[in-house]
């Protein structure tokens, strides 16, 4: 009997996690898994918007086409900035593993700055397009473009605010088993935004150059 109890107690309920600070509590593990599922929902949302964009990208209604509008150098710079910001958030997590809170603050701070730089360039880009007659209401292509890229931009903005709030919020508490999962999920979210941008760069801009 007691052998059977022992056996049942040992039946692993949740998969074993590496011994990291962010997964040291059930709450932390829940948060990380929950964010993964949330990202699953986000993937579907962006997939739908990509589908809509692909269906409508040639419906320019006489306005400027994708070839007229897109300039790869600017978008390439934006891509580089966002990819580097993903790297800096990884460095932040790396410092977290080492228990160095100063390093976490530094690298996540750099991530926020890079995110803000990306946003400024995107705003500049949108103004530029509006000057060329490509607006939200000008054609179905315009509506689809601003909805897809704008939704991504809104996610970047939310990420910038989120991580800034997190840095402010934890400035006194430092790294604990309560704050570590928060940094970890924020970095997961930030990677996700980056991945979406890689797809936007490919599907919207690069494919837009070849028509």
């Amino acid at each position: 009997m007691s052998v059977e109890i022992e056996k049942n107690l040992k039946l692993s309920v949740a998969p074993e996690m590496p011994a990291h600070l962010e997964t040291s509590t059930l709450e932390g593990r829940n948060k990380i898994l929950g964010l993964w599922f949330f990202l699953g929902a986000e993937v579907v949302m962006f997939a739908c918007m990509f589908g809509v964009y692909l269906a409508l990208r040639n419906s320019t209604a006489g306005g400027p086409t994708t070839q007229d509008l897109y300039e790869i150098p600017l978008v390439a710079i934006m891509t580089t900035i966002l990819l580097v910001s993903s790297l800096t958030s990884v460095l932040g997590i790396h410092e977290m593993r080492k228990g160095n809170f100063r390093g976490v603050q530094l690298w996540f701070g750099v991530t926020v700055l890079l995110g803000a730089a990306f946003l400024s360039l995107e705003i500049y880009e949108f103004f530029h397009y509006v000057d060329m007659g490509h607006t939200f209401t000008s054609s179905a292509f315009g509506t689809a473009f601003y909805t897809l890229v704008g939704t991504h931009g809104a996610h970047v903005l939310f990420g910038v605010l989120w991580i800034s709030g997190l840095l402010y919020n934890t400035r006194k508490e430092g790294l604990t088993d309560f704050t570590a999962p928060k940094f970890y999920v924020a970095s997961l979210y930030w990677h996700f935004i980056d991945v979406v941008w890689v797809f936007i760069f490919t599907v919207v801009y690069l494919m837009g150059m070849v028509g």
Binding site: E4, N8, V13, C48, A55, A61, T137, S139, T143
Partner: protein
């Protein structure tokens, strides 16, 4: 809008006078009331009850809407409410029944039951759970404000473009639909994430995946469906909102838009949605039939497999709603075959229920009667479903009353019967009292007979060619009679529903107290008191197999073996921040509906401010000391 503000301020003023609200200890007194306790609760059982209660409230609304429509169709060329109102009632009835009745009641049961079934003290994210409910409620309330302010949406629950665009549906009706459902959808996503994480991470020791009760399994699959099905709806509503409010061109053909995009997005959501509302009902039925047959669920593993398969295939059949759009014979054939594939796992389930009852010691309580009535009724709906999935025949059935009959057979005969079974089954666990069995029979028989009287003849109405969603018809011999019979059936369903609400009243006032295990149950929820203490399990039980509690009872024990020593229990604190966030979204929604974009932005700002408030919250709950637990357990 102005009327609304005046009324709101007036109500606030009156409330202040009657509560003596000007003095400073008003807030303190408010905090001690029961209402404050309920609206700030993060306890999964209370949130579940809130979900079910609001589902019940909207059930009354949508039921009255249905009755009004049936009266309008009583006679040919009848002038009772007229076409414009009919369109509005039709839209409200469909949308309310799906989004604000079926889903919240099912999610409510998931909330109450799943943590108890897996031996957990709460869900993974108690705050998010409360936020999910209040977002749902804010969306539902906003949607229903359309009755009072500006007119209801009138382009059907599917809200096809272009009839839902500004040109054809003027007034704010459809805006209530787009904005209200988006807010409610946010809440649903929160709920789904919560259940997934809870079931994956928080099962009691020993409860492997294939030892989970069937209702927990269906909850897991349903939550996964929600995660992937709600976002397409959100995007579709986004696009429609942009077209209506901000001059977007997604569906404006003149500017290059495409109306079929809406249909695709809507049904990529809409078909999994069908399984979202039926799978949990399958789970409920499985629990009820197994308990009252005194047998282990027949073919448990195949049941799990069938559930997962239905969830998987459910994403590949959406275009069977669009056979007549003209996607071409190739697409139609593929989707027709995929659609018929769903009948296989569903058939597995039906036979498993029958074989569970076979040779069992059957006990026909009200819950069991609902569950048994479910089987033939749902099978009929399934058969007409396969008929509709036959693409060539669908050209004949499409948009006729045949479709109406079909989906009412699966939604009432499936989901609603399942929910009623679940209500009679889990009521003692939720409230500590058993619903009256005699009134339960008065609930069942009129409802069951009335339901078939209303919807069975509608199959023929459809085959005779009567289109759905029309507000009247020319006098034709058979059509007149069938419509008349169909409306008569509503009386039966009304009597049944009234008996049900009367039953709740009688039970709450005079009902007999229920013991912990009133049905001789099989799963963990019956091993703790009715209603359970707010920490559920004083000691997390050890699970040694499927039907864990039944195993222990068969081994001659009265209780589960604990897997841990008695120790202080960590509990989350109540919170009011979810109310601020939901209020923000509600305000914002109102602003967008009435094109008051300043109010819209302000509402969003409040909502995001609430989220940051929550993030900055330093309250990390409290502990129930060991002595208190010992006292309670001794008393029990």
């Amino acid at each position: 809008m102005a009327t609304f503000l005046v009324v709101a301020v007036f109500i606030a003023f009156i409330a202040l006078i009657f509560t003596g609200g000007y003095n400073s200890d008003f807030l303190d007194r408010a905090r001690k009331t029961k209402i404050w306790d309920w609206i700030t609760t993060v306890d999964h059982k209370k949130i579940g009850i809130l979900y079910i209660a609001s589902g019940g409230l909207f059930f009354i609304f949508a039921g009255v809407e249905a009755a009004l429509m049936r009266i309008q169709l009583l006679f040919p060329n009848f002038d009772f409410i007229g076409g414009a109102t009919f369109n509005q009632l039709l839209t409200m009835h469909g949308t309310t029944m799906i989004f604000l009745v079926a889903m919240p009641v099912l999610i409510g049961f998931m909330n109450v039951v799943v943590p108890l079934q897996i031996g957990a003290r709460d869900v993974a994210f108690p705050f998010l759970n409360a936020l999910g409910f209040w977002l749902f409620f804010a969306g539902a309330l906003l949607f229903h404000c359309s009755i009072l302010f500006g007119g209801m949406p009138d382009s059907g629950w599917t809200s096809y473009v272009p009839i839902s665009l500004n040109d054809y549906s003027q007034g704010p009706g459809v805006d209530y639909y787009t904005v209200g459902l988006q807010i409610a959808g946010l809440g649903t996503i929160a709920g789904a994430v919560n259940f997934l994480v809870t079931i994956i991470n928080m099962r009691a020791p020993g409860m492997t995946l294939l030892r989970m009760p069937m209702f927990t399994w269906t909850t897991l699959v349903t939550s996964a469906l929600l995660i992937f099905a709600i976002p397409p709806l959100t995007v579709a509503l986004f696009l429609l909102m942009f077209d209506r409010l901000f001059g977007g061109n997604f569906f404006n053909v003149a500017a290059g838009g495409d109306v079929v995009i809406w249909q695709h997005l809507f049904w990529i959501f809409g078909h999994p949605e069908v399984y979202i509302v039926i799978l949990p009902a399958f789970g409920m039925i499985s629990e009820v039939i197994s308990t009252f047959s005194k047998k282990r669920l027949f073919g448990y593993t195949s049941m799990v497999f069938a559930t997962v398969l239905i969830g998987f295939v459910g994403f590949m059949v959406w275009a069977h709603h669009m056979f007549t759009v003209g996607l071409g014979p190739m697409a139609n054939s593929i989707f027709a075959v995929a659609t018929m594939t769903v009948a296989v796992p569903t058939g597995i389930k039906v036979f498993n229920w029958l074989f569970t009852m076979w040779g069992g010691r059957l006990k026909f309580t009200t819950a069991m009667i609902w569950a048994v009535a479910f089987i033939p009724t749902f099978v009929m709906g399934g058969v007409t479903g396969v008929m509709l999935g036959t693409a060539p025949a669908d050209y004949q059935f499409h948009d006729t009353y045949f479709v109406v009959a079909h989906f009412h057979y699966v939604l009432i005969g499936g989901t609603v019967f399942g929910i009623f079974a679940a209500i009679y089954y889990w009521w003692p666990k939720m409230f500590g009292r058993k619903l009256n069995e005699k009134i339960g029979k008065w609930h069942f028989w009129p409802f069951f007979i009335g339901f078939h009287l209303t919807f069975f003849p509608q199959h023929f109405l459809g085959l005779f060619g009567m289109p759905r969603r029309v507000f009247t018809y020319e006098s034709t011999p058979m059509v007149d009679m069938i419509n008349f019979i169909s409306t008569i059936g509503v009386i039966g369903m009304t009597i049944g529903s009234l008996a049900f609400f009367y039953n709740i009243y009688v039970t709450t006032r005079y009902g007999q107290l229920a013991e912990a295990d009133p049905w001789d149950g099989r799963t963990l929820e019956w091993s703790i008191p009715s209603p359970p203490p707010n920490y559920n399990f004083a000691q997390i039980p050890l699970v040694r197999g499927l039907d864990a509690f039944w195993l222990e009872k068969m081994a001659g024990k009265k209780e589960m073996i604990p897997s841990e020593p008695l120790q202080p229990i960590h509990m989350p604190s109540s919170s009011h921040i979810q109310l601020i966030i939901s209020l923000g979204f509600f305000m914002s929604g109102f602003g967008f509906v009435f094109r008051g974009f300043e109010l819209g932005a302000l509402g969003l700002a409040i909502a995001f401010f609430g989220m940051f408030m929550r993030s900055f919250d330093k309250d990390r709950g409290y502990y129930i000391p060991k002595e208190e637990l010992e006292n309670v357990e001794k008393g029990a």
